[in-house]
Chain length 339, copies 2
């Protein structure tokens, strides 16, 4: 009896009829609003149950107020950044109250604009824009009828609110871990130089070294974000004859490649050389040999914070500017010898 028999769902009027009350009373009873006789409430509730009544959220949303939906637009569903962020968003919103429209703009600006319009037409309570890189992106503009929060990528309009990760701090903390565990001759292999993630992670490393009165071994080696470049760069580094006792890689993929080359050349990690990544891409970091010490960028937390900022904005407490979230070091076996 708890299930609708078939194709369609009953409405409040039917519930009210079965309970022998008016629609208004049924509504109040079901929503625990104002004073309703206890017996009446019970009668309405059981009528609702018997009919398998599920309130129509469209009608509710039409009245104004919240619709209990938010839109997440991503440029990069394929990438591995969007997903943890999305999970964080769901965490914060509480899945049983707010549902998330996930839309992939696929890097197409026109499509992005259409998606925004589609979301507005469905009267979402807000939009979270998840970029694929930690770079600045064009603002969606100020005229939008719903609050927008930029996550990962940052808006170029300081009047917008962006939440992103702190790549400088990530590089800094990584280097700190290496230096604190006794390394002094650190080499650095990175990804594509134009990416702000590459630049800022390097910057963090250099900052720490300078704070400790140390110097980078050689120059930062920029290439692309692949295992292949990690392998090649490590080989170049070894062939340069420079001495080093640690390599900080700007990503876990790079670190995997580096580990391969070191292994092949018979260099022991971490005893002879410590290797560290950034990203904490678990499937890569955990399964490498040795398991990779890395920096977790806290993307799920980023998603949670972005969602909370959206709720703040909806509640009228809106802020602006860029909020950077701290990352944290995850120590595995590639930097510190096991006892």
């Amino acid at each position: 009896m708890k299930e609708t028999t078939s194709g369609s769902v009953s409405n409040l009027a039917a519930v009210a009829r079965l309970a022998g009350v008016s629609a208004s009373t049924a509504s109040k009873a079901l929503n625990a609003r104002s004073d309703v006789n206890e017996a009446t409430r019970t009668r309405v509730e059981s009528a609702a149950r018997d009919l398998g009544y599920v309130p129509n959220a469209l009608a509710r949303g039409l009245m104004g107020g919240s619709t209990g939906t938010v839109g997440v637009i991503t440029t990069d569903l394929e990438g591995r950044f969007a997903l943890p962020i999305l999970m964080g968003v769901e965490d914060a919103l509480g899945i049983d109250r707010v549902l998330t429209f996930l839309c992939d703009a696929r890097g197409d600006d026109a499509r992005e604009r259409r998606l925004v319009e589609e979301l507005v037409s469905r009267r979402v309570d807000g939009i979270i824009l998840v970029g694929k890189q930690t770079d600045v992106r064009p603002s969606l503009g100020r005229g939008l009828p719903v609050p927008v929060v930029y996550a990962y990528s940052m808006s170029d309009d300081p009047a917008d609110l962006s939440v992103s990760v702190d790549n400088v701090q990530a590089g800094y903390m990584a280097a700190q871990h290496l230096v604190d565990s006794g390394r002094t001759k650190i080499a650095h292999i990175s990804g594509e130089a134009p990416h702000s993630a590459a630049q800022r992670r390097s910057q963090g490393l250099l900052n720490l070294l300078s704070d400790r009165g140390l110097e980078l071994t050689g120059q930062p080696m920029f290439g692309d974000w692949t295992e292949g470049w990690g392998r090649a760069a490590a080989a170049l580094l070894l062939d340069s004859g420079r001495e080093f006792d640690a390599i900080l890689c700007a990503s876990d993929q790079l670190a995997r490649g580096v580990l391969d080359t070191l292994h092949e050349r018979g260099i022991t990690v971490p005893t002879q050389v410590a290797v560290m990544g950034i990203d904490n891409w678990v499937v890569l970091a955990q399964n490498s040999r040795p398991a990779l010490t890395t920096v977790d960028m806290q993307l799920q937390k980023l998603g949670r914070v972005a969602a909370r900022r959206l709720q703040d904005a909806t509640a009228g407490r809106s802020s602006a500017g860029i909020e950077y979230l701290p990352s944290s070091v995850v120590i595995r076996d590639s930097t510190i010898p096991r006892l």
Copy 2:
């Protein structure tokens, strides 16, 4: 002038007023319905533009008919299966007409039920349930007021429609590729034995071998779905002293581990031993040394088909049972020597 000045969005009434027509006429003009004077239409359209009018999809949805939304419930956002499927769904639905609610049940049945109810309350046109394994799962039941399609996992109720991948065929085709390229002594390393993916992929391999009058080298080696087991299993295999000229791995992760061990033992791939994976997890398969030949499970296509079946059901052309999609071999360098 094209943007709303601020917080809210104007409605049809405002557009009609500005254009000097009635709401009904404005509606018809905007929706290209029935006969509307060309001049009137133009006037309404430009009024809409000037006001930054975006139709309220909630009001539209209230009228009955489609709401232009579907729900995708996944058990496994973290895993790498849900994402390509989701992209396929978006492909098929055409993002500018239909928006997708993405919900992660996080493996919790109660949460899944609540999500279904939330989706029904928003009057989605249909629900796609994406499981995390290619195993049978409990049906959501028959009483639902919207069509449901099961993707990847299959419903235990034959009255439901499920779309999944053909693991037997995947194993068969993988083995076929190996045998056709001259291998005759094939060993097999797999994941968790209870998973139907492990069982069925093995079955496909055995079917092909039997068709060709060949026998498996040793027994299938089941373990877990990790690089670590791939490395260990390869070592066990080598230490067994059995002769083999190919290893079919039931996943790309396993294959990565196998490649590591072979490399370490100085065995050349593919010259001495061919290694093949299944999944075509590109970031792993493409960056291994040598690049990994594997089987693409066509998950994005699976998403497209699931979405189309949902549309069929909405249109009254519903089907039932399990539909298996074929996979296809992706040849890279780990099975065939480069010229």
